[in-house]
Point group: C2
Chain length 434, copies 2
């Protein structure tokens, strides 16, 4: 190694079992080792020498293209990149439903607005923003109402934050591994840049009564979805969000305004927000008593479980995004924590026997999705891929055995155990229990 420069001084051989390679391959561009690695690992096999193809001028280069549009859409060839599965529903296409982000077809940290996940308890209301009001009342000195125009005059804050349904990944508790995809198993999580007015500012204007310790937030949907929130969270980082990835929040995500409680379970981030009432005690609404409580071992129930613990899932490869020939691949996925920044993501290619650290794409933001990546030289044999997230508090995403051992298997919500993707010699990727 003595004749290598410092930047070349890393191990292009495997750093954990079954072909995982040093993540720093990704951090270095334009150097000699990439080529050496590529040649050694079969990178060159992805491209073709020019002689192998007849280069033709395609029809789209010889005819003028389409006229510009006011608001663009994805290519017609991307029809599979949609939310799903569509819910079954006996009520003639109204009522509750949930649809999941197509995680296996996305890359980066941002979820585009068109496929942000949705959980709604009585459909998406068609709200005319001119007629919408936000009411702040209860234990306040001055009950107030706010129009959208009024809120638009307040100082705003932007932050990139994930939102995740408390019920996401609940299917991981089935006694046998569900035949699912990253989308169907984990797609009730998305990440966007949210912009809005700090709730603390509005509460201060209303004047918080010292007896107030909680608030209940209510949506204007036909379920009047309602959740109790400790006042401390409202005064910390809560936003009344008006914008999602730059534009107004989409109807499915709460147009014209939603509560954003960074890192806390999805349905507390009340959509179509119409009312905040300050209380001395939690309101015990239907949405926090009959649902969203965790049935633990020996029949105990955990209620008011707010932050979502660290979780991760590999999206490439994953079921439906299969391997082709042996050679070098990128393993990539997403990690997030409701308790702060992702500090590290480790990946295993041998079912958890050995682990190697993945590279994290910038920016790594608190309570946001972080994209991780690690190179993998697949030898064509069977493999079990896993990822585990570690957040800045030191919390480590648990194995299936650990989580079920601690909680039993009926807890339904806040499931964040490690997912295993089995890779067959055929290249097919399937959800397995390992």
């Amino acid at each position: 190694m003595s004749d290598k420069t410092e930047s070349e001084n890393f191990d292009a051989e495997q750093v954990a079992g079954n072909g995982l390679l040093d993540r720093r391959v990704f951090l270095r561009q334009g150097g000699g080792l990439l080529g050496a690695l590529g040649a050694a690992a079969g990178l060159a096999g992805y491209s073709k020498p020019v002689e192998a193809e007849t280069l033709v001028v395609p029809s789209w280069t010889t005819t003028p293209g389409a006229w510009v549009q006011g608001y663009t859409q994805p290519s017609k060839y991307e029809g599979k990149v949609v939310r799903g599965p569509m819910p079954s529903n006996p009520y003639n296409n109204v009522g509750p439903g949930s649809v999941r982000s197509p995680l296996q077809y996305l890359d980066g940290m941002i979820t585009p607005n068109g496929v942000h996940y949705e959980r709604s308890h009585n459909g998406v209301p068609d709200i005319d923003p001119a007629g919408h009001r936000l009411l702040i009342h209860g234990l306040v000195k001055r009950p107030l109402t706010f129009t959208l125009d009024a809120l638009s005059r307040y100082p705003m804050t932007s932050r990139i934050s994930f939102v995740e349904c408390a019920g996401n990944s609940g299917g991981m508790l089935a006694p046998t591994a569900a035949d699912g995809t990253a989308q169907s198993l984990h797609g009730l999580v998305s990440c966007a840049e949210w912009t809005g007015v700090p709730l603390a500012m509005l509460l201060e204007e209303a004047g918080v009564d010292p007896k107030a310790k909680w608030l209940v937030a209510e949506g204007a949907d036909a379920a009047t979805m309602s959740r109790s929130v400790p006042l401390a969270k409202a005064l910390d980082d809560a936003l009344v969000a008006l914008y999602q990835n730059g534009e107004r929040i989409r109807p499915a995500n709460g147009y014209p305004m939603r509560l954003l409680l960074p890192g806390w379970q999805g349905n507390m981030n009340v959509k179509w927000l119409r009312r905040i009432k300050l209380l001395a005690e939690p309101a015990m609404t239907k949405d926090e008593t009959s649902k969203y409580s965790l049935l633990l071992k020996e029949g105990k129930v955990a209620q008011f479980n707010f932050p979502l613990d660290a979780k991760s899932v590999i999206t490439k490869p994953s079921p439906g995004v299969n391997m082709t020939a042996p050679g070098l691949y990128e393993i990539s996925g997403i990690a997030w924590s409701g308790n702060g920044k992702i500090a590290k993501v480790e990946v295993s290619a041998d079912g958890g026997k050995s682990w190697a650290p993945a590279a994290l794409s910038e920016p790594v933001m608190s309570k946001a999705i972080t994209r991780f990546r690690i190179p993998w030289r697949w030898n064509g044999g069977p493999a079990v891929l896993q990822s585990r997230a570690i957040d800045e508090t030191g919390y480590v995403q648990p194995t299936r055995e650990q989580q079920i051992g601690a909680r039993g298997s009926r807890f339904q919500y806040h499931c964040n155990l490690i997912t295993s993707w089995g890779v067959a010699a055929s290249g097919e990727v399937k959800h397995v229990y390992a």
Copy 2:
């Protein structure tokens, strides 16, 4: 001041002329001073006491909402948030055009994919990704072609980056102030999270001949838009980008792949990328000789002007987003630099006589749009609002007088002078020269 804690120890009075307030008002939530400021500044005037309104249950709360969709769209009430103006064109809706992002209606740093600006030289090609190839040839050891599937196997990088047309803001050189908006004057800039394969990795696989110092990148559109790029940039931070804000790049922005040269002028970020040819000298294409060169004073021409210097523009308030009654407002806008991070944005409410620093929303990323915000107490009188960006190299966005003094007024491209918005006593905001 001695009885205040450190966090309270800021000046809620004005910090620059004509009502600009301390930016730290935004950084602090839940404290007593917000309320004091609000009361003092008229914040409470935005909301209404509950007694002033009859609270009604709107129709959308009493009827089940709409069924979930596979791919969502903005609310029907947001029809003005579109790209524009649509180009006039005698060729029956084909051919070149440009449409601008509606900056005055957006907030945050991300431009949603639906309204990312577009400049196309012969329309948007309808590319079937299965038939698209990227060819790397010229001064390389092994000419290679890549399918989209092949590229998808390579290690990827994500980065949040602006793209800006070199011709953006050219209208600021008109002899009298154009009656425009943030969109019509400056809307040829947008910002997205781009994900793709480092170009350096592909070039290394092809094997760069030591004689190669440039490359020419060519699009598959009917203009075969082509630009020469120094090899050093290609080996630095260039990407062959496949994803835009998480999903595949939209057709208008280069589907299925575009070159991303962070911070460099827009049309070098070649869309619908089909060919990269390595050369010893620049190719001198039509797109870098007849256009995109700067006509300077005394008839000199500057060619190959790559990075875009620091620029900023206030989007709220701005023409079309007017003031209503006197009181406290947020002044907000966007800043960006092709040479690194934004270090500071200063705002003036008195036409440049005095300046105060704005707050910058996280994350502040190199070669990305940064959102800035500062509170302003409008006294109802005339005002001239300006912003100036300073990047991490120390570069300061120039005044109109400075830039025209240095370059003349025919340079057309890379115009980044300070914009002035005049606020009338009526609250109307107009573009002015100040």
